[in-house]
Amino acid sequence: MVAFEKQNGGEIGDETAQTLTAQAKVYAARMRLQESLDQADALEAIREIAANLMGSEEIAVYKLDKEKGALWLYWSFGIDPNKYAVLDVFKEPLVENALEGKILFKNQTAADRLLAGTDRVNALVPIRIEGTVVGLIVIFRVLPQKATLDAADREICQVLSNCAGRAIEPHRA
């Protein structure tokens, strides 16, 4: 367990508060994923992390089919699964970038949208197992009380990328 410096009472600045929030969220995300019992629990962990820590109730997990150059919808929450059943990698240049291992966030790329067919996507998070990308998590809209994904969320996405492999390939992760 990581030891955290205790800040006992007193006012703290915004930056310190944000750092503490991020630490707590990243810790919770990592522990939840590492302690997930099986594939179903890992998927539930992803949903909990997205909804409760990041503020998104619209999320999809895709499994990569390298031969066909496609990402098949493996599991989703809060979106129409028929609408997003498959992502054609050859038609989605930013998805191709993500499959090289890069986490992509809305408003941090030159493009105005992360997926061609919708402007609802806030992040593309490659799922890696031992360095190999095996799938993709797509974070769609965030809750109305939250403008966009912030620095803490970006750290959480890093944890998802490194630790969510069991959700797709439980025997390898």
Binding site: N8, T21, K25, M54
Partner: protein
Amino acid sequence: MAKKVLLVDDSTTTLMMEEMILKQRTKYETVTAKDGLDAIARAVEQNPDLVLMDVVMPRMNGFEACKRMRSQESLRNTPIILVTTRGEEEYVEAGYQSGCNDYITKPINSRELVTLLQSYLGE
């Protein structure tokens, strides 16, 4: 003696995060429950100084659990703060109708949470 906070949520992730924040920033003791029914039992058993409770939970939601806690003599005046993803007026109103004292929306911010709890419990 340290103030005791009952944290109620069906999400293990949220409970971990809330415990971590309160451990980092306060001297409050924490106990946890996983749903509304469990929360009522734990509250009667532990007599917390404050209850921080999610709304959407299996078996019994936060609104119902709040109403039932208010019917218990020992919990009638215990501050209850509901945690919701919905900040809309009707949802907030439902929370107050159930007897809660305050609410906070997810995703939780450390500073906002601690400030809110300290306003009821002190430092």
